[in-house]
Symmetry: C2
Subunit: 241 residues, 2 copies
């Protein structure tokens, strides 16, 4: 059995009981070095395989081959939720040539869940989740989605809003949003969720447009009903309060 284990944003408090149980059930645990270091701390008796960033396909292939050869339970760690920009899709795509292997996806808290909890209630109506990284999706498609999400008056939750080599995407996203959304629309930034240096800021679309987001940040922009009250970013569900 291969478990693709969502561990949430990083802290052990965000692990589900199912994720803990799956880790216990594995002989080997593979994953990105930063997550492996975290899991190792709490499960020191397991065997681990650490990988650098961007070796996602290599990780998946190794896990599939070892599970097939050694017939043991292996865990593939995925930060956040494996299904949301995580390891579920690449391993299931590669698994087509490994028909006899069973793969179980263990869901985890994704940044949308945890960033929203820190900001208040920003996602409490229909929302769109968009990654601003154009490594795996073309920028044309990303722009089309930002525009469509604005036209639908969705709250928008941005993953991968920026990096050292990718500074323009968020700025361009704000320019598109400012065509459709009011400049006072609430905007929230959450950094390093559940890790050292966790912080958040609640501001407006107009203020955030000059911001240069880095890795490990999640940015949420409200819909036309969202508002800021006492350091909380609130999107009404629609109750008559």
């Amino acid at each position: 059995m291969i478990y693709v284990i969502g561990i949430g944003p990083g802290g052990i408090k965000y692990f589900t009981a199912e994720a803990v149980e799956a880790i216990h059930d594995c002989e080997f645990i593979a994953g990105y070095e930063k997550y492996i270091k975290l899991v190792q701390k709490y499960f020191p008796d397991k065997k681990f395989m650490s990988y650098s960033m961007r070796q996602e396909l290599e990780r998946c292939k190794d896990v599939l081959n070892i599970a097939l050869d050694q017939k043991i339970n292996i865990g593939l760690i995925s930060g956040g939720d494996p299904d949301i920009y995580g390891m579920a899709s690449p391993i299931l795509e590669l698994a087509k040539n490994f028909k006899e292997l069973e793969i179980k996806i263990i869901p985890g808290l994704t940044a949308a869940n945890t960033a929203a909890a820190i900001l208040g209630a920003p996602l409490s109506n229909d929302f769109a989740v968009i990654s601003l990284s154009d490594l795996l999706t073309s920028w044309d498609v990303i722009e089309k989605r930002i525009k469509a999400a604005c036209e639908g008056d969705f709250v928008i939750c941005f993953y991968n809003p920026g990096s050292n080599t990718r500074r323009e995407n968020f700025k361009r996203a704000c320019e598109i949003m400012l065509i459709h959304k009011n400049k006072n629309t609430p905007a929230g930034i959450v950094k390093n969720i559940s890790r050292e240096g966790q912080e958040f800021k609640i501001t407006t679309l107009d203020e955030i447009k000059n911001y240069e987001p880095k890795m490990n940040e999640t940015i949420i922009i409200g819909n036309s009903f969202s508002y800021i009250h006492d350091d909380k970013f609130i999107t009404p569900r629609g109750y008559k309060i």
Copy 2:
């Protein structure tokens, strides 16, 4: 302190360590009767207050008043994630008149996380989350969002796709999607996640259009790259496999 505690879809295995800790830290736990029954099973020593469906505002007001009067820790249970069609928004909206109270949102797995894990990797690119209940959002707005989500080629995850009194909304949603999305677009239904009677079905948009969804179901419709392979619903992340 008021904790708004996301407990995920229902089974204890989906509770995070943080949710368990918060429940331990409370004297009173309030919530919808179905969730209270579940929590009571695992934390029999607590005091509980059960509410019927649709008494969301009453629950919030009671919790705020008791926390203010008695100065104790109270937990308000929210199925799934409090931020995603849950209790975070109504309680923060009502809390404006209770400035001295501290409210902490504890995130939980929402149906998008857990339904996706059961179906495979349907959400593994940008996606939109839309509730088809027109109790709190007007149907015009919902239709506009379905159309916009199609124009952005988002994967769409539908919450509250139907009920005994609301049979036409999902049919109408499919009609709109069939204008924009290929009729062979993968579609997945998940029922009763983590509860008795859990089941799932993977089919196509064309097949699902005559389906009458009930409560406790989550329906995911793919983007133009999604495909079905060996009973898995996969949306590619974009890796060159």
